[in-house]
Symmetry: D2
Subunit: 393 residues, 4 copies
């Protein structure tokens, strides 16, 4: 039985699919898609029931994201950023936050932000930078105390939804810090001082509007996420689900869309005649088996996030999920393109877009090569931070 | 929490592992392994509680088989054959059997056979033939009515456990049949007229004693499985779990053993120094992720077998499980051999044996290429029997 | 030492590269590229010296095509069609043609056509059709005798260079034929009655202008290629170089461009610092080794075409070349995209275009799956025509 | 036209093949194979004509090694070691050696050693050690000046042909050296003080008798290779052909044997009926194409070694050849095993042995992962020694 949220996601998905080709062509943001998600209450997916949301956990998020990605993976990727912000906020344990120094003001601000999401506010993530990628420890954006708030300055790249967000989750380094970087998260409301530089025109996932954004803003103290400085790096290693595994669901949905499109195309071309070649049938069979196995892996990781967040086994599964989902989507899309032929690969056809969208899965941080290294280090009982050539964060 | 059966299997597995190198070297049957399994009651795994067994379903079987395969995959493969016979017998629905014509004598015989398994009897499968492989429709062994029983004649190949079995599940064709072959199963007790031709000396899975066996025997009417002739082919297509998916668990366990052995070997060589190369760490990481994903696929298929046997979705998952488990075990073993190096590949070392054992997974019927074709045909809504170049059965 | 033609191709290639992004963006035909090729005399590459051309053989063609493809693979693909027409015409052995019935008129026409190419005329190929692909035996376009010439009618798809060609090589079926189709080639000059339907807007190789073209034209008898009807199918099987292997060189050049672009990108990002990760270095190393090996295969096949055209060993190498070049280009481009990251995959960057262009290599006829089947059939001494599920032609 | 040496190798190969199963079973040295090679003069393959040998270059060696490996790859691997010693000795340029300090005594000894090979002496290589592998810079065996000669002490592993050799090429470190290790080569005649520890019992290449050997010997000054200390490391980087590429030919031959055996097996099982499945035909086709491409790569590298030894392009090709030959042989053997099925994989059948033999190609130093890293570093213009995580030597 599908959850209420998943039912709504599945109802919305065909509308996303119908608009996908246009947004892909123009690299334009799917405004109507987010109107639909807002209307269905799905922007409140991760918001607790008490705050007016749907109170979903990570597993339910995962299934919703897959469903949306079967419609348009780019839309689902932006949705994933919003879910990451709201899900991470909702997931902060009050006792822990208080023990670390969070005040009531923080909780009031947090609840306000979540209530706003349930009401339709859209949030995004501004972490990556041109030189550092998503390596938190290498970020160059800074913040410093400025009166009763903080001043944040820096230039962020690949900020999905840029220009369409109500607030940005910004990661920045404490200015004038010593050797060990102190990296903190701030939720920065859209305001003057936030300047979007249009220019997003990539191979795939073109509708995410992941422009570069310049920040020079002042925020109140309560904008500091968790109410404590320096949380970004330890969180990334301790509970990496929103940085690592939330993407994975999108690429499973994309892989499923590849299988569905290829199946439909071959049926259309060959009808009920069964004239699909053995080689093409086998490509379809191998692809659908691999995609469904990657789905199980992502769902399994998601269940562990819900029941045992931060546990070593959970974090191992989070990285397995990212690795398998990204590699599988690309492999499936490439092989299915070969099974269907050039007739299925015209601009504007779904399989053509999916093939391009699929290339980014293994590359989005942490890359498949990094995930594989992390998994191997963990399997050997080694600390990834000390042994990996390029630590993930 | 582990089931009682799984706990016992995990306790027994190290003893299997300790004997594995000797049986592999000599291609000898692991008699002591089966004494252990008998002693722990695991030969009654699939036997209903009411008949003195453990009453396991397919999912529990799957986990037990994985655990045994982590010790010795060859032993687990023989165990899989025994579980197939007892599991299939136990799974016969009484109403259906009666509707098809099964008499009380059949049920009495069935119960006797299952009680004997709970008491320690070991059964195996004699289906394959030199010319037909496991294509049931091409079998040349025959049976005909002979007084108050049947006379069965033919030569079976790759009969795992040959010479160590209390009874053989034999598939044979009704003699003098017309165009459509009538293929039936018989449970044939070990007796004069069953002649084992030693000669099993393969690349891997050497301890299964899968010799050729000549049959020229008389059996009572009650030996006819299900009490009805002609069940073999429809069963193979309708409920293929024991013919297809029971192997899969063995190759998941083998893949897990490959990961464990490689991890242990790299730890031993490099200690806590973290001097394992990036390339080797990444091979280990990719292998363990793939193996664990194949485990999820096999366990998912097994759960479906328990709750929705014979459903199209279940049968699709059964073939996905077989495909993924076989291909993954070989890929993981080959890559991990490369990660560890020649020092890990001396005769008698576990990784050397695992590499050889792993080659058979994708080849055992139905082969990976056949599974892929079946899956593709199903995805396209085509009947595999009519469209596949080489139908599985 | 480079041949004169190869030197010119290498000089021209950077100019092609400079225009590639614009033509890719607009799916527009690279008119200036062909002006350059014309100016350098390269349209006469395959034309005998005696007729004013460069008198190149297949191996020299191969190297020229690789060089052009390193600049813009789409331009090289159109050039390959022109070279196929002129090369096949130039390669017709006079004695054989006469023995088959060719008259002096045919030779005069042939020489006129070749002289025109040396003077700058551009030819292309109109074989494929929507339902048949490039399966010659399934073509639906027809021709019939009409006075002192032929009337040709049909709709051709994927006709590279459509609208920019001086003549089209059209394959058509003799109208009213019996069971065995009689497929003939005609060289049809651009004329009223040839109608280009714009609409070419594909994933990759976008600058080839491979539009659909409708033919309803009358041609003189001398337009019949070889002067004999029914040559198309036997030629395809006996001397498949121009139908199969001429593409291969283009995809080798594309693979080389992928390696060069990725190398340049990584050098630019990492400078002389050697901070490229081990995983990225290994991806680059594996890709460049595979691409160079595919180059050797294509050059070896090309040499055999020159010295032993039509020999079984030659035809086996022709199919190996096609298979290896197509698969290698895609694999290299996909892996190098992963090595370089999303920063290298913006629209307009060479690697982004190459990744899309590369997808078509394995799909262009005969597909990699078909080549593999053909090669296996040949290795087994079987006639591909009788044993393959889908014969290539 | 085949060279005399190649003709003889092809005549001898079937005799090697006929003995291969026995030596593989027993892990015994193929004494009769080397009697055959000796009788045909092939032990003098690399010895200059003036010294009684066949005067072959690297390319001819490559073809001879492939031919022998088509018979028995293990025999060819031992032959490769002998060819490495004699080829490296024969290849020492007199002017360079004199400039570095080599005396007439060195040349006399060198010529004596080569003449002996032409007369039937068999040499091998004792470089690897348990802790260091083949990393020359990490070797622990030592030598020091001792009167008018050197004393060499150490334990070598994986010394192919151990116990059957007339002399061993030993790499050792100058005792008491400073920070930079001085590694030298000595040709050590079989003598008391050389103790073979039987124990070679590996997965594949079982007939090479690559036992551990303990050395505690005195040699005359003239045994120092090249007459100069410290040559080993610079030679390994400057002219790596005998350390890297000589293996490659063996694995090409092994891949060819896999193709030939699989072809023969499928023909035997299916006769002329053409009932081989599409999937199996395609596996055969892909395997034979890949193996033949790897052959071209190895032959191309070998030609460059002959005409431009030590050039960067040559050394790049040497590593490409090693990478491609090792990976291709394993991939082909594994896929062909799947095409043929378990019936082709009984102990004693060629395909079973080839599958095991093939696993070592990518693992023998430098491993495929190391070659890929080296190739990528070179492509980026970086010095492999400074940038690679694990430099090859």
């Amino acid at each position: 039985m599908l959850s209420e949220a998943l039912q709504r996601a599945e109802q919305v998905a065909p509308r996303l699919a119908a608009r996908a080709a246009d947004h892909d062509r123009d690299a334009s943001f799917p405004v109507a898609d987010f109107d639909d998600l807002r209307h269905e209450g799905l922007l409140g997916l991760m918001v607790p029931l008490a705050l007016g949301g749907m109170g979903a956990g990570f597993e339910e998020y995962t299934k919703v994201a897959m469903a949306l990605a079967r419609g348009n993976a780019a839309t689902a990727l932006v949705f994933n950023m919003h879910a990451s912000v709201t899900g991470a906020l909702a997931g902060i344990a009050p006792e822990l936050a208080r023990a670390l120094g969070a005040t009531e003001a923080f909780f009031e601000e947090r609840d306000r932000v979540l209530r706003a999401a349930a009401g339709g506010a859209l949030y995004g993530v501004a972490i990556s930078e041109a030189g550092a990628g998503s390596r938190l420890s290498l970020l160059q954006s800074t913040y410093h105390r400025d009166g009763d708030g903080y001043r944040i300055r820096g230039t962020k790249s690949a900020c999905s939804g840029a220009g369409h967000l109500d607030a940005y989750l910004v990661a920045a380094r404490a200015a004038g810090g010593g050797d060990a970087p102190v990296i903190s998260y701030f939720l920065v409301p859209d305001a003057p001082g936030i300047e979007v530089e249009p220019g997003w025109d990539p191979l795939g996932m073109r509708a995410t509007a992941s422009h570069t954004v310049r920040f020079d803003v002042r925020v109140p103290v309560a904008a500091l996420l968790g109410g404590v400085e320096g949380l970004a790096l330890p969180l990334a290693y301790a509970m990496p689900q929103w940085l690592v595994a939330s993407y994975a669901a999108v690429y499973v949905g994309l892989g499923q869309a590849a299988v569905a499109e290829a199946t439909g195309y071959l049926e259309k071309v060959h009808g009920a005649k069964g004239t699909v070649t053995t080689a093409a049938r086998a490509r379809l069979g191998r692809a659908e088996a691999a995609v469904e196995a990657s789905r199980l892996a992502v769902e399994h990781a998601a269940r562990l996030v819900d029941v045992a967040p931060g546990e070593p086994e959970t974090n191992q599964w989070i990285h397995r999920a990212k690795l398998l989902a990204g590699d599988t989507a690309m492999g499936a899309a490439a092989s299915l393109a070969e099974a269907c032929g050039l007739g299925a690969l015209g601009r504007g056809s779904p399989l053509e877009r999916i093939f391009r969208d699929a290339r980014s899965g293994a590359i989005m941080p942490p890359r498949s090569d990094i995930c594989a290294d992390y998994l191997g280090a963990n399997a050997l009982g080694l600390d990834p931070r000390s042994v990996m050539e390029a630590p993930p964060w």
